[in-house]
Amino acid sequence: MRQSAIIIALIVVMLLLGVANLIWGSLRIPAADAVQILLGGQVEAHPQWTFIIRESRFPQMLTALLCGMSLSTCGLMLQTLFRNPLAGPSILGIDAGANLGVALVMLLMGGTITLGSLSVSGYLLVIVAAMLGALCIMLLLLLLSSVLRNQVMLLITGVIISYVTGSIISLLNYSATEEGVHNYIVWGMGNFSGVSLDRLPLYCILLAIGMIGAVLLVKPLDAILLGERYATNLGVNVHKTRNWLLLCTGLLTATTTAFCGPISFLGLAVPHIARMTLRTSQHRILLPGTMLMGACLTLLCNLLCNVPSSGSIIPVNVLTPLIGAPVILYVILKKH
């Protein structure tokens, strides 16, 4: 069948891009050697490759992959919940909420915003703060959700939320040290290399929980597409589903934002690309498709960011709007 073929193709592309992420960078490592090192082997002639792959490229690849999956999952769930094609974690200002949480904790922890220097417990605190920030915004959005079915209102609300959180963050930055401000700006550009090998398990576990939670919702999500009342009539407990969804989205957005910075547009754009190719609205097909598509796109972005070599890397948020913006325009234009 067409849909299974697409899913299988996406898995293959994802694996290829994953390997490509290990091979390319400021230094090229042959594919065979890269895979060998990843599987626990050594390359005698180049012992430093082991370090590069295990300590740097593999964590970065996995971070990008999971981040893409998570944000795309969030986008899909939010678009279904709000029954609005323009919903997404960044447009709705949810990651701005997470941002604010992070910035607040950072300021309280000494005025510098370097995530790298934090201990694991500090990291957890940042994630909890990011999550609280994200949840606050989501609660606010849910309160306004009757109005938010209107696309323009949704966008306006998102913009306003982003402005308000932005201004608070500016105030925080104003009182932070120069180094802190610099670090914050760099963090805000998005980066998949911020998760070191020892923090990778925590990152993976948190995102896995969020995504498993999302997968468990595929049946009620289908019903919610028809509207709250039809869903209720089909025996779905809309409030429970909503709260569950809120929690999963909050966890996913907060975790990715805390670790990778606010990655814009991906969450909004990927579900649309998935819908266009899979031509279905059934979440049991759409959700895995969206996850795989998100993984592929972030791996591609990460690859493009790292390829120009010369030591420096392009921030992720330079690329994601280039993919996201055309998709949003397409969705708006198609509506009219």
Binding site: L226, G227, N233, S281
Partner: protein
């Protein structure tokens, strides 16, 4: 055609047809919102095999009553009894197998085929992932046949006309296999032939499948001709009867007659004077 297409019809007929247990009973029902009582103390019953139409002016409380019957809104007082049980004691899944609704709001979904939409009606019966069994698929096919939308099966729901969408939503509710079907203004937004087609379809379904079908409408003349029973809603009270009875008793004249509208009880029709 209908009889042969329905494996569950015979079951319904033999088991349920003339038993009062299968009526939907409204006992001292008071509807409204926490801030405002709309209608008090409604006592009525809905009978299987009958098409019942709810008439009333805008704002008189039709939607509130319908929402209460759909269990979207808790009653302020009294009870709704279905199959001998109060609906407030039933779980949401149990309810979804007893009461099916068709709303005025049309779902705005992209990338959903007509068949997928009708299949949504099976979700109270499907497992955790919502996969359809052979049996489910058979019921979906039959529901589409009954609603006369088999030819639309592969079309995208979002590309259909209002009338077609309405029929798809009716097929969905048929696939849900509920003994009660409630519809909120199913003929609104339709052109005249589609209105007639819709009402005839609902009447046929009520009669041949022994379902309780209850709908609100503003199409008075069509409701008079095609309903088995009318509920006329006035502020604070509901008058119930067969169209001919209400016509004879002058109840219909009271409801319809206004400046420039004269109701003729013999013809069961109204004239508009200029």
């Amino acid at each position: 055609m209908l009889a042969s297409a329905l494996p569950w019809r015979s079951r319904l007929e033999t088991k349920f047809q003339f038993s009062t247990v299968n009526q939907m009973l409204l006992q001292h029902l008071t509807t409204g919102y926490s801030s405002r009582v709309v209608t008090t103390d409604i006592n009525a019953s809905l009978v299987p095999g009958e098409l019942t139409s709810l008439l009333g002016s805008n704002g008189v409380g039709k939607s509130t009553l319908l929402r209460t019957l759909c269990t979207f809104l808790p009653p302020l007082g009294g009870e709704i009894i279905l199959q001998g049980k109060s609906v407030s004691s039933l779980s949401s899944v149990e309810l979804s197998k007893l009461i099916g609704v068709v709303l005025t709001e049309r779902p705005d979904v992209q990338n959903m085929t007509v068949r997928d939409m009708v299949s949504m009606g099976r979700s109270p019966y499907t497992g955790f992932w919502g996969r359809l069994t052979e049996e489910d698929n058979r019921y979906v096919t039959e529901a589409m046949q009954l609603a006369g939308i088999t030819s639309l099966e592969k079309r995208m729901f979002s590309t259909l006309s209002d009338g077609e969408r309405q029929k798809v939503m009716i097929a969905k509710v048929l696939a849900q296999q509920t003994p009660v079907i409630l519809l909120d203004e199913p003929t609104a937004f339709l052109d005249f032939p589609s209105k007639v087609e819709m009402m005839r379809l609902l009447r046929r379904l009520a009669h041949e499948m022994q379902k309780i079908i209850f709908l609100s409408t503003h199409d008075v003349e069509m409701a008079l001709q095609l309903s088995d029973r009318l509920w006329i809603m006035h502020p604070g009270e509901v008058v119930i009867g067969k169209p001919a009875e209400l016509s004879k008793s002058g109840e219909l004249s009271r409801f319809i007659q206004a400046d420039g509208i004269r109701f003729d009880p013999d013809l069961m029709s109204y004239r508009i004077t200029v």
